[in-house]
């Protein structure tokens, strides 16, 4: 059994190293989602790195596709591809694209990056599972700025209509988006009420508490007849003191000096 806290910390270090090497990318929303993704890939999901297109596998769709580094780090740590590839993120001729590409990266179940589209495709996958009477589950990570996209709500309505209880959406509720706090840019609250009104089960947890995330995912598995969303309260830039709660770190890579400081902090947490 993997120590999920340690794995999340390792994923965060990978993210910092990747972004420093790439000199571009999105640290804030990748770091906020590290615990969620660690729980999914190292505890929750039935997947096989040796057989990434296994038809009965659980699926994961990173609807907030700009957090690709957190997904790539988890896939590499899980053994879908060599860790050395992480340092070639966003470089010409290498397969780790700026946003997830299912045709290029083993283990990526859906190409995403244009916000709002991932949840719609994830719901389609869940519907396919229902049609085929398969037991696989579909997991989708949504951003809290992303919910301003109308398609999120089209998908939410349809997922409830078709009773997709094999779909679990996790909302990375870090409260910040590129231009500032969600509340100032476009207030999406009250999120729990909105999702309930759309016919979803709503669970709430601390998105950095791996135990709480695990428990919520267990609960979701036993909720029948409706899709479920976990509103996971997170801190943007979590784990790197100078990035935490700073909208400015949404889409800027750390310099090598900043990366060194960040890695020291993260390694300190691990020790």
């Amino acid at each position: 059994m993997t120590n999920l806290k340690e794995m999340a910390c390792q994923i965060r270090q990978d993210i910092i190293e990747m972004l420093a090497a790439a000199k571009s990318g999105h640290p804030g929303g990748s770091l906020s989602a590290a615990d969620i993704v660690a729980v999914l890939y190292f505890s929750e999901m039935r997947i096989d790195p040796e057989n990434p297109s296994w038809p009965d596998r659980d699926r994961f769709v990173l609807s907030k596709g700009h957090a690709a580094p957190v997904l790539y780090a988890a896939l590499a740590e899980k053994g879908f591809f060599p860790r050395e590839e992480l340092l070639k993120l966003r470089q010409t001729g290498h397969f780790l694209q700026g946003h997830p590409d299912m045709k290029k990266v083993p283990g990526v179940d859906m190409s995403t990056g244009s916000l709002g589209q991932g949840i719609s495709a994830a719901a389609g996958m869940a519907l396919a599972g229902k049609i085929d009477n398969k037991s696989y589950r579909v997991y989708c990570l949504l951003g809290d700025g992303e919910v301003a996209e109308g398609l999120v709500w089209e998908a939410a309505m349809a997922a409830a209509q078709y009773k997709l209880d094999n779909l679990l959406v996790i909302l990375d509720n870090n409260g910040l988006q590129i231009d500032g706090p969600n509340k100032e840019v476009m207030n999406s609250e009250p999120l729990a009420d909105k999702w309930r009104a759309f016919g979803w089960n709503v669970l709430e947890t601390d998105g950095h508490d791996t135990g709480g995330l695990n428990a919520s995912m267990e609960v979701a598995k036993n909720l029948r007849g409706k899709p479920t969303i976990i509103l996971a309260k997170t801190v943007k830039g979590k784990g790197v003191s100078f990035m935490e709660n700073q909208a400015g770190w949404h889409g800027n890579a750390p310099s090598s000096e900043q990366a060194d400081i960040a890695l020291k902090e993260l390694r300190g947490v691990k020790a």
Binding site: M102, M110, A128, E154, Q161
Partner: protein, 326 residues
């Protein structure tokens, strides 16, 4: 070949009727086929499929973006989704979902759109897609098909189902003349030379194929021999056939119920200007929106007729021997 068709008594069937029937047939053969619509199933005829296979039909409501997103997810999980709505909403409203969730990952989604072109009629310009071929043609990985009649529609739908990858299929609303019988064989990437003549080549698709054949008959009575090419496969385009008929005739007219920008006319012009430049004129909607009216009246008003093709053919033939002076 100086085929004369009995236009007065020719049988007319809407492509969308053929679409609905073919879906039912395919549904029986392939359990992975699923059909999605956006509250227009009675118009697009996917209701035919819904009646026979209710467990494999999914109404997405009036939500075209989600229609495409769900289709992408279903395809990623091994299904063969046919997603239907009117051409305006399929290609316009949901363009970016098609681009990023279907074309980019090359997912096996068939976007089967009806009510393309101004022959939608009374509903007016908001519902008349004149730019759908241009939008779909510009997407890498996308195959673009625009059949001419009910029989070709049947074959296009079957070919799309057999092909692995995204396909856009353009169908009209009107009942149109049945030009092909079951001996006809459609292939993706192949054009069909329906009539041969030495003076001019008319390359058409959709309901303009019938007009092109009528035009060839009129031209024949004037002593002008026209080749007529039915070009349902807009992408991939049958470049060999297009170049060959241009070499044989030295003058080309394209005819389509689409904006002259970005559709079949543009595609043919691109191929010929790079490979075998000949005088070329495009018959189509002249970069303007449509309006409400009876379909037959609109087709006349917007120059989508045999008479217009004849006029343009005469003009392009005159250009053949004109040397361009600097």
């Amino acid at each position: 070949m100086t085929e004369r068709i009995d236009w007065e008594n020719i049988k007319k069937i809407a492509m969308r009727d053929a679409y609905g029937q073919t879906l039912v047939q395919l549904g029986g053969q392939n359990k992975d086929i699923v059909v999605l619509d956006a509250d227009l199933s009675k118009s697009t005829k996917t209701a035919d499929f819904a009646k026979v296979f209710p467990e494999r039909f999914f109404n997405m409501g009036i939500a075209e973006q989600n229609l495409m997103g769900f289709s992408a997810g279903l395809a990623a999980a091994g299904k063969v989704p046919f997603a239907s709505t009117f051409a305006v909403f399929a290609t316009g409203r949901a363009f970016e979902q098609i681009r990023n969730s279907i074309a980019y990952p090359k997912l096996n989604v068939k976007i089967a759109a009806t009510h393309a072109g101004i022959s939608v009629g009374e509903d007016g310009a908001s519902h008349q897609a004149i730019e759908d071929l241009a939008l779909m043609r510009a997407l890498p990985n996308m195959t673009v098909l625009a059949p001419a009649d009910a029989e070709e529609t049947r074959q296009v739908i079957k070919a799309a189902a057999a092909y692995k990858g995204p396909v856009y299929i353009r169908m009209g609303r009107l009942a149109v003349p049945v030009l092909f019988d079951q001996s006809y064989k459609f292939e993706i990437g192949k054009a069909n030379v329906r009539r041969e003549g030495k003076d001019v080549a008319i390359i058409a698709n959709g309901l303009m194929v019938a007009e092109a054949l009528k035009a060839a008959e009129i031209l024949n009575s004037q002593g002008i021999e026209a080749t007529v090419v039915n070009c349902a496969s807009v992408k991939p385009l049958d470049e060999n056939t297009i170049i060959a008929v241009s070499q044989q005739t030295g003058a080309v007219v394209t005819a389509e119920e689409h904006n002259i920008i970005g559709g079949l006319g543009s595609a043919v012009a691109e191929v010929l200007s790079e490979n075998y430049p000949v005088p070329l004129c495009r018959v189509g909607i002249k970069d303007t929106f449509g309006e409400s009216g009876r379909p037959e009246e609109l087709l006349v008003k917007y120059g989508l007729t045999a008479a217009e093709i004849v006029k343009v053919a005469q003009k392009v033939i005159k250009k053949k021997n004109c040397k361009i002076s600097a």
